[in-house]
């Protein structure tokens, strides 16, 4: 059994995560990465390198488990890419090697207009989506209910980037809002189907990335195109949802907090205290340790500082801001749960 289980307090990792997603009391703040935890070092440890770990269920599950057994996080998350369902929708994929994430060849869009959108009947049996479902089953069987297993289903906005090309999709959003909404309406079925299938396979919660980030579009865009769709996801998908949007988002967190999602996975471009002030306990926050500058380039001390900053602000689940850079040192990642424990020890009297 790994370090995650050994050092648990009164709650199991799973209980702790599920409680934090409901903003209920926890014995300590859970450590969670709702996006990829894969690194090259972990791939070596688990003998599960990319791209196999993105395409083969046993390998995918083995690598995911290291998040709990090696790093001591409270979650296991087996989906390292944002392209599993895009592959099933028909996008061309560049699978890359061990040292890089696979991606969609967005230069070769598969669709141009709403009428082109077809959710294929094999969406859930395509090898790249089925792989995720099988990996979740393997993990559920192996870990029972000791650790939270998080799945991932992409939102329609991000699927739009993949299937239409980012620039084409963004221009359409400006030229023809009606057409864009129609696209989102059709694409959302892929989000729901893949999400439901993962819950059935045993996922406790789902990450829902939908990249309407302040680095690309305005807050008003989020409200116009996505808020209501995200509310609909909460109604139709019976598991806690964790919205993921990296980049600047504090200007739209008020809208995000209105969706009823369980949590929002937020980026280090947003200050923890300011963000908590905006969402005001309507949604849990997960994050927001910086990836490129801190986890990848600095040492445990800086990691600890950012963990403390989140805990001081009352952030409900602590973890990296987005997919962890593949060359990140394990030492830095292990520091996150260590720092969380120390912070709680230091604050034990006030609890």
């Amino acid at each position: 059994m790994g370090t995650g289980a050994k050092s648990a307090g009164q709650m199991t990792s799973r209980q702790r995560v599920m409680a934090a997603l409901r903003r209920e009391p926890v014995d300590r703040t859970p450590v969670c990465n709702p996006t990829s935890v894969a690194t090259v070092e972990l791939m070596d440890l688990a003998d599960a390198p990319f791209p196999e770990a993105c395409r083969e269920p046993e390998s995918m599950a083995r690598l995911a488990a290291t998040g709990y057994t090696e790093l001591g996080f409270d979650t296991i998350m087996p989906v390292y890419t944002i392209i599993q369902e895009s592959s099933a929708l028909g996008c061309k994929i560049q699978w890359e090697q061990k040292d890089n994430w696979p991606t969609v060849k967005m230069r070769e869009p598969i669709w141009e207009k709403p009428e082109d959108i077809k959710i294929p009947s094999n969406l859930l049996t395509h090898s790249d989506t089925k792989c995720v479902l099988d990996a979740i089953r393997i993990l559920r069987k192996e870990f029972g209910d000791e650790v939270a297993i998080i799945g991932k289903t992409m939102g329609p906005w991000s699927l739009g980037y993949h299937c239409f090309g980012v620039e084409q999709f963004l221009l359409m959003s400006l030229d023809d809002p009606g057409k864009t909404k129609l696209c989102l309406e059709k694409l959302k079925e892929a989000t729901v189907q893949f999400g439901l299938a993962q819950i059935e396979a045993g996922a406790d919660a789902l990450t829902l990335p939908d990249h309407a980030t302040g680095d690309l579009v305005s807050a008003e865009y989020y409200e116009r195109y996505l808020r209501d769709l995200h509310i609909e996801f909460v109604e139709r998908i019976p598991a806690p949802l964790i919205l993921h949007i990296c980049g600047r988002t504090v200007d739209r967190m008020d809208y995000i907090a209105q969706t009823g999602m369980a949590a929002f996975h937020y980026d280090s471009k947003n200050e923890p205290a300011e963000s908590m002030g905006v969402v005001r306990s309507r949604i849990s926050l997960v994050g927001n340790i910086n990836n490129p500058e801190t986890l990848f380039s600095k040492g445990p001390e800086q990691v600890r500082k950012e963990v403390y900053k989140n805990l001081d602000a009352g952030v409900q689940l602590v973890g990296p801001e987005c997919a962890i850079p593949l060359q990140t040192a394990i030492e830095n990642l292990k520091e996150i749960p260590l720092a969380v424990r120390d912070w709680h020890r230091e604050h034990a009297t006030t609890n």
Binding site: D99, N100, K105, Y221, P292, P325
Partner: protein, 253 residues
Amino acid sequence: MAEITDISNDFIRQEIEEYIERPEERERNINLFARARPKMQEIAAALIDGDNDTVNRLTREALDSGIEALEVMDDGLIAGMGIVGIKFRQNFIFVPEVLACARAMKAGMAHIEPILSAAGIEPVGKVIMGTVKGDLHDIGKNLCIMMLRGSGFEVIDLGVDTAPDRFIEAVEEHDALLLGMSALLSTTMPNMGKTIEAFIDADLRDKVKIMVGGAPVTQEFADDMGADGYGKDALACVATAKKLLGVVAKTRA
């Protein structure tokens, strides 16, 4: 010294009042538009509004009425794009809006380019741009390209996932003096350094200036990998390109 009231076009006046906060940028834009003909201001306004049909029509009309292609480009299109770049940098507008402005720029340039090349007028400079190997993020790179083109540069876009060999080939094929590389991933940032080494190995490093950018790249990284320049955003990219090619400031810095 011109005053904002010297600008005849209401829309341009409002844009400057509302969105341009830095004193030196305000002054530069006021001077520029105060001396531009009303027709040029109109073209700039349509471009800032992302209205490609109007830019298309007004550019044609301006050229047909005998206004020089260079003037239409500098005082209409490039001047308009300058305001767009500032609005984007300051988060007043976002990527979709910039894409629409770039589309409008393109509509205008379609009339101007043939005239300039027939007259043998050289672009401000030639730049090869690409996202490095293993990286498919290209939104930022594309915005840089738009602003470079919007400042009179000729840009050869190698797209994404560009191997060092392809950068080398392109520099040789186009006799370019400047290369720009973009990377958004910490996993692909080292490929910038590798590309620079490939230029050294090919004995071409002295022939080309190299600038780098992308969210995780910093001036420090740029220096470490031996790049000649770094730019934090699309406007900085244009400024760096001009500096590295020794372009004398024309309409804008």
